[in-house]
Amino acid sequence: MSVLIDEKTKVLVQGITGRDGSFHAKQMKEYGTQVVAGVTPGKGGQDVEGIPVFNSVAEAKDATGAEAAIIYVPAKFAKGAMLEDIKADIPFIICITEGVPVLDMVEVKTALKGKNIRLVGPNCPGVISPGKSKMGIMPGHIHKPGPIGVVSRSGTLTYEVVYNLTLNGIGQTTCVGLGGDPIIGTRFIDVLEMFMADDDTKGIVMVGEIGGEDEQLAAEYIKKNVTKPVVGFIAGRTAPPGKRMGHAGAIISGGDSTAEAKREILKDAGVAVVDVPDEIPAIFKEKLKL
């Protein structure tokens, strides 16, 4: 099994006529994702890579039965795109867009309240269930199906982790990129819970970084609820305090948000915290007898 998406998930792409949207719609389709519709207001009736384009999410949903949306629109339109999905009751939304204003995300979070809708991102690489479906911008070929669930706040660093697993013959159930912004739709705990409930996921990799307190909350959750082996990596041990390191959320603002503090808290929760991503495969080989 996998979490969040599989080969049956019908996906619509918002911003499909844009540079990134069209490129990745094609890549996703080639990977095997069921990309059933694209949405760009005013461009309904066209098609991109054989994918029909609609003027609105509601129209696309009615015509194709799309049940998941992925957003590639520029930052100033990202809020509108997310709100449109929520209004159309699309149950699963991924927002790839980087640079969404924080107060826009407050509006989106408010609109999500009381709805049974899951948002991943913004500012994230997306989600992939190897061999089944890819909703995102990650290179598909470095993944392979297998027993490890990967959850991360980063993009390329996740690829690094996955690449090391795959090189060592260890595949993945699902890899989830949460995104590097302070306000995001899905957090570590949400995904840890999904991985615990998924029988095929035997082990978990958690990739965190400086800033915020999500790793601390995750550590508390792991201590109480997670019985599968967890390996952790935290980026930013050399990051100076008070400086934003690329991601809007990656800034050391107090003692608890440093990489060292997070590493200690995770170790204390029983997580095997590594120094270099290439140390991860050996730990699973030993713990899971792979």
């Binding site: 995300m105 980063s154 660093l157 690094e160 930013g236 990051a239 390191m245 690329g246 990656a250 270099v276």
Partner: protein
Amino acid sequence: MKIHEYQATELFRAGGLPVVQGRVATEVYEAVMIAEETGYPVVLKSQVLVGGRGKAGGIRLVKNKEELEDHFAQLKKLTIKEYPVEKILVVKAIDIKKEYYVSVTVDPAKGDVVLIASSDGGVEIEETAKTNPDAIKKYYLNGKKDIDEGSWKPFIQSVFDTPELQAEGTKVFGALLKVFFDNDCSLAEINPLVIDGQGKIYAADAKINFDDNALMRHENLESLRDLRYEDPDELEAKEKNLSFVKLSGNVGCIVNGAGLAMATMDIVKLSGGQPANFLDVGGSSNPEKVLNALKIILRNKDVNAILINIFGGITRCDDIANGIIEAMGQLELNVPLVVRLTGTNEKEAKEILAKHDITTFSTMREAVDRVVALSKK
């Protein structure tokens, strides 16, 4: 983005907040004019974008013109945490009877805007948070942009004890919320909010941070940026859509993605090297970005080896390779370059670089070991 107190004060004034009478001065004659308008005593407040200016002697109370001239001259010679004082805010001194703390910010975990207030002290708020957390009151807006009458009363009553102050406080908090939302702030803070001998309420300080992601829709705010507080290389990087932070080491790093860029610096350090910088070229990088990145890194004379670590996803490795070749043609590259490329179009990239005798590595560990060894030669 941070702005000075005097700039935040002007935004507060425009938003209808009860700021203290006064203005900013650069020259002593301006300060004297302002003091004559407001009447003595006045407070001289050094305008710096770093904390701890009070402890550094950056705030002075003066009773007359002679004292003003004397202290103004002293402040103009002052340097607070390496930043020389250029501008001084001159405001009428207030006879403070009580101090409060008030701020509006975003609580990322809740995804909501929160108003924070405390009647216990103002300036020592961090201490209060530790010793008496119950004295800090929070009001969540639940996704709204204004006070909700129903839930407001218990909150405002927990902060102010008289109906008069509660009414005044409600006006102040409402105005502060408006400033916060109108300008896409990440923080709007009054510390302290004070009550004077006549029971009047004043914002005796003003602090505003803007959400960098929202500056795109507030072009007018860009002019408030004080460039003296920005590293010129970091500014140039931002203009070129690169994310750059300078560090003190000698191994230059060019990486795609913030997480991988941090991890690369960390592993350089663990392997015995010293990273010279954080540099994220971002996604969908075109060849020109590599050229711009190398230009910025080569300006740092401490750098004696450069690591390019690319994991292609949205970034194509061949774009990076073409950027490296282009840069080598244009720049005088007198430090060794170590290149690691994996992912999208890796094969094409390696072929391009091999033609120019540049060795590439497939794993981060090999590349880091190599660059660290070169940096020690």
